[in-house]
Amino acid sequence: MNAGTTYRKLAIQVTPVTKLEDRKAMEVPSKVVAEDLDFYYRQTRALHGINIQIKEKHITALIGPSGCGKSTFLRSVNRMNDLVPGARLEGKIYIDGQDIYAKSVDPILLRRKVGMIFQKSNPFPKSVYENVAYGVKINSYARKKAELDEIVEKSLRDAALWDEVKDRLNSSALGLSGGQQQRLCIARSLAVKPDTLLMDEPASALDPISTAKIEELILDLKKQYTIIIVTHNMQQAARVSDYTAFFFMGELIEMDSTSKMFTNPSRKETEDYITGRFG
């Protein structure tokens, strides 16, 4: 499949990010694996028997209509749902083969390995520098000021923000634009040295130019990180992801390589959703 092919069926431009043969895909190790995952908010069942394998150092997009459970699944991977009163989970999630809901696993340590970027950029009302340094400080990763400086600079560079903020590291993060704030939040996550990044509609509140920058950044981060991204934007899923998973009513309907999902999905529900017939 050539880059830049216009798929007649979708009438949108899809640039496949990685050319994937099914056989090849089998060889990519899985980073995150969920088995028979059920999730409840008090009496309401939000996830229903989810079985999914997230490939290492690839981007997996979770799509589906509002309330389909994709964000719930995302927040189960770093156990942010633990903080929600009345939340209950059954089944298993493994990261690198480790059951993350096992008694011996500390959710605090888990969250240091699995970073999260939220829908609304949420920098702390502190300076740019302090925002990035926060996670490093609480985790006591840096022993000296120079070491901390180094981590802050590297994280900001990795988040493609360094050149824009290097002269205003000590001014408030709230003075940055929306797109810059979101990249700052990404830098803040990177500083803690995670290996997986969860992104919950990271660009939904941003203008097209800022969105393009975030997407470019996400593609760049793929070299080092396993990324799961929730998005409502079909084009975005098609542009950035290698795999796409379609959630509907708390169930995982289908998951496949993004190029296949957007050209020739196996399930009718997927096709209906992607072509905009509902949702």
């Binding site: 770093n78 605090i108 939220f118 949420n122 920098p123 702390f124 009302p125 996670g135």
Partner: protein, 325 residues
């Protein structure tokens, strides 16, 4: 001629309907105006009351106000001189009270808002206690302070450490301050809770998602944001506590003292109590009157000033929260 098929969007239809509705609208308007007038008048009553009190106090009290009045001690059976010991005692009292009430109040609020589940027994019991505490008459606090702090706590300290000699087991500024602290506890708790509620949950989530513990999140993200709110709570507690007489009546306030309080176990003079003394126990009512007015004026001015500062801090905090939204 086209016959309109949809009466709702036809101009003609709308016009004829609105003629019928107009009479009803008019009747509604009249009762609406009366109601508006009534509600507005109710507002005028409260504004008028405050203006009347302040105006009356100021007019009668201003003649006697002077630097000397603020810095001298009462003389000649309180018919002359100043009120400095009472001002000093009041300030010392509320400072001690603040030291006691703010840490406890803030900790209660943090537990209620950050830790407890709203369905837990401790949460419900605390809620109930806070709202009931706010409704207890202040004279009850006074008697409670005498019974618990002075007699029980103070008496036991004396028995254990002072061989039964009377040191802590008598009315003192320490016990009065603690009694006031219990009285103002709900103010601090409720203001701090409001402040915590105003801090966006996204910030807590951001911190937790970076691998911070709950305690680190509270210590480094929540509390720095809550400082101004806590400060406001402290000031409101002070302005509430500064005028209270009943709680200190039996726990430490004195009619007249030749010396300023120097120890935690000293008794003290206080503005509110001084007003009570001047108005009920003066040997010469007429001679005391100007001093009474001026004392009330000073007490009011102090309270209003504190409230004003609290309001300023709060509005600045709100503006800051708005600007980040």
């Amino acid at each position: 001629m086209d016959v309109p098929t949809n009466p709702v969007i036809t101009p003609g239809g709308t016009f004829s309907n609105s003629l019928v509705e107009n009479e009803m609208r008019h009747r509604l308007d009249v009762s609406g105006k009366i109601f508006r007038f009534l509600t507005g008048s109710a507002c005028l009553i409260i504004v008028g009351m405050v203006a009347l009190i302040i105006g009356h106090i100021f007019i009668h009290g201003k003649g006697n106000l002077s630097w000397r009045f603020l810095t001298a001690a009462p003389e000649e059976g309180m018919t002359a001189g100043g009120i400095f010991p009472a001002i000093y005692g009041t300030v010392l009292l509320v400072m001690l009270m603040t030291v006691a009430v703010v840490p406890v109040g803030v900790m209660v609020a943090i537990y209620l808002h950050e830790y407890s589940s709203h369905t837990s027994l401790l949460y419900k019991a605390t809620r109930l206690a806070v709202s009931n505490l706010a409704g207890v008459p202040s004279i009850v606090f006074g008697l409670f302070g005498l019974g618990f702090f002075v007699r029980f706590v103070g008496g036991n300290i004396d028995r254990l450490f002072y061989g039964g000699n009377l040191v802590f087991g008598q009315p003192a500024i320490l016990w009065a301050a603690l009694t006031l602290a219990v009285l103002t506890l709900p103010v601090v708790i409720l203001t701090t809770e409001d402040t915590l509620r105003a801090i966006p949950n996204e910030l807590r989530e951001a911190s937790m998602a970076l691998g911070a513990t709950k305690f680190q999140t509270i210590r480094h993200v929540v509390l720095p944001q809550a400082v101004t709110g806590i400060l406001t709570g402290g000031i409101l507690a002070v302005s509430r506590g500064a005028g209270e007489v009943a709680p200190i009546l039996f726990t430490g306030a004195a009619y007249f003292l030749p010396e300023l309080p120097t120890k935690l176990t000293s008794q003290f003079m206080e503005l509110g109590y001084h007003v009570l003394v001047l108005s009920t126990q003066s040997p010469d009512v007429e001679a005391t009157k100007p001093i009474l007015y001026s004392t009330v004026f000073v007490l009011l001015a102090l309270t209003f000033l504190l409230n004003f500062v609290a309001i300023m801090i709060r509005s600045q905090m709100r503006a800051r929260l708005r600007s980040r939204a």
